[in-house]
């Protein structure tokens, strides 16, 4: 594995995903392996060709027996060179993707399968036993010793605090925030996997329940079930097999020191996301002006605006006006979240970053159907964890 003086460029050559939404009768392993089968099929590869399995955890509210990657390999009936599970909140699946790309780049293996899946919407509605309750207490502790004691079990109220600051500081109106989900639904209408495809209006958004003021229900991504899988191979392997795809050309990553609320810092500025973006672009030898299409995290509308601004795509406070002008639409100057984003495509956090990678893969291959950005050749994926506490940014470029 080490000692080689050359790195192999990792190339995504296959992608699969389930419908995003509700799958009450299925398990995360079912959804992840359905996605993998589709991804392998699109690449024309057999399961036996997979040399490594890269996972993230199966969710937040359900306990998971250890050594899950080996059980996935057993279900697939494959012996491997690498079994990996990576966890860091919302970035988990992107960091599993990074781990796969690193192993491919180092020449440890040539064909890696990255799988992310989550299927636990039921856990909040069905009766809980003592073990489920314990799991909720465990999730409460994720918010740490300063916020956890206040009973926090969701990121939503914390994102409400930064949304309130954003609206206060920039004078963003409720209508301006509500505009984003309206726009994202227009994109999701062309995405057959998306959970929320029906058109809505600003009035619909503002009439929806105030789940954690100032956040309305339709400004929050749904907590979805879903699975996604990406097949990553070396450039040499892709050439030998004649496979087209999306090559990883740049990676950037930054994590602030705060867990959820960055006490004492501006709740509207997330400079580490900008630094991760700068790093990824510099590694790829690209600039923001080179980007044809972006998939940005955004689990809540105001936070998505703040992320656009943190990435240096718009000046602070300017994202709402740019979105309202159509700049981020599929036919705009800077198309962002043609998938519908988290808010309209749906958000199974443990699969979300791979859904973002998959959207860029489809855009670069020209297989994005009605949401195709014309001529897309260079794309960006940005995923985050906590309350935008850290971000991974990947630059993907068309490979053929």
């Amino acid at each position: 594995m080490f000692g080689s003086d050359r790195l192999s460029r990792p190339v995504v050559v296959g992608f699969g995903a389930t419908a995003i939404g509700r799958h009450p009768e299925r398990t995360p392993n079912d959804l992840g392996l359905d996605a993998l089968e589709e991804g392998l099929g699109r690449a024309g590869l057999a399961g036996a060709e997979v040399e490594g399995v890269y996972l993230d955890p199966q969710g937040y509210t359900r306990a998971q027996p250890p050594i899950r990657p080996q059980r996935i390999a057993e279900r697939l009936g494959i012996a491997t060179r690498a079994l990996v599970e990576v966890e860091c909140g919302g970035t988990s699946a992107l960091l599993a993707f990074k781990a796969a790309c690193q192993d491919v780049a180092l020449g440890h293996l040539e064909v890696a399968a990255v799988i992310g899946a989550q299927c636990e919407r039921r856990a909040f509605t069905a009766g809980m036993d003592a073990g489920d309750l314990d799991r909720i207490f465990l999730m409460n502790a994720m918010y740490g010793p300063w916020l956890g004691p206040y009973g926090v079990v969701a990121a939503l109220p914390l994102y409400a605090l930064c949304a309130q600051r954003y609206m206060h500081q920039h004078g963003a109106s409720p209508e301006a925030v509500a505009e984003l989900p309206v726009r994202l639904r227009r994109n999701a209408a062309h995405n057959p996997r998306a959970e929320l495809r029906e058109a809505i209006t600003v009035e619909d958004v503002l009439a929806s329940r105030m789940v954690s003021p100032p956040i309305h229900k339709l400004e929050a991504a749904p907590w979805s079930d879903g699975g996604a899988a990406a097949i990553v191979v070396s450039e040499g392997y892709a050439r030998r097999r004649g496979l087209a795809g999306a090559a990883l050309t740049g990676w950037g990553e930054r994590h602030d020191d705060a867990n959820y609320v960055p006490f004492g810092k501006e709740l509207t500025r997330y400079p580490w996301i900008g630094e991760a973006t700068d790093e990824a672009l510099a590694r790829a030898g690209r600039s923001r002006a080179d980007l044809d299409v972006l998939e940005v995290y955004g689990a809540f509308a105001a936070a998505e605006y703040m992320t656009y601004e943190a990435m240096g795509l718009f000046d602070p406070g300017e994202a709402p006006a740019a979105v309202a002008r159509g700049e981020t639409a599929i036919d705009g100057a800077l198309p962002i979240n043609p998938s519908g984003g988290r808010i309209a495509m749906g958000h199974p956090p443990q699969a979300t970053p791979l859904l973002q990678v998959g959207e860029i893969f489809d855009q670069l291959l020209g297989t994005a159907g009605g949401r195709q950005v014309a001529g897309a050749a260079i794309g960006l994926v940005q995923s985050e964890h906590g309350m935008m506490n850290g971000a991974g940014v990947a630059i993907l470029e068309r490979f053929q």
């Binding site: 003592a130 909720i136 409460n140 926090v152 006490f263 004492g264 709740l267």
Partner: protein
């Protein structure tokens, strides 16, 4: 296995997340003296409290937090283990630091920048004393 195991305690994982500075923060709060740490070298006061300065690595000493401050942000939680709506989860600026707590007023009566006074309040489920902010009389 004979008999049922006892129900899990809501506080068991939270308490495991506390380091020495965290235990000291909640101990002082339980005594009615909210405090945080200040660096003896670079004089920076921060929240959360730390054993070592994150800026210069210097030794920290404990300083009491001001009893008055201003509301920085606030919301309500629809889903939570404790302090569900209509309780108001808030951040307040107390001197140099921003801290979390519960605002002792209805959401609709609060505004950013409002003056608040600090009231430590015991919370029975975890056994910890927490911060609460009472708006100054209008």
């Amino acid at each position: 296995m004979s008999g049922s195991p006892p129900a899990p305690s809501p506080a068991k994982y939270l308490l495991r997340e506390l380091d020495v500075a965290g235990h000291e923060f909640y101990r002082r709060l339980a005594e009615g003296r909210p405090a945080t740490t200040r660096c003896e070298s670079c004089a920076r006061t921060g929240f959360p409290p730390r054993l070592r300065c994150s800026g210069c690595g210097g030794r920290q000493s404990w300083v009491e937090l001001p009893g008055q401050g201003r509301l920085y942000a606030f919301t309500t939680q629809e889903t939570a283990l404790r302090f569900r709506a209509p309780a108001v989860l808030a951040l307040a600026e107390l001197g140099e630091v921003v801290v979390p707590g519960i605002a002792l007023a209805a959401y609709s009566e609060l505004r950013i920048g409002q003056e608040v006074s600090v009231e430590p309040r015991p919370e029975p489920e975890t056994g910890l004393t927490l911060l609460a902010f009472r708006p100054a009389a209008a």
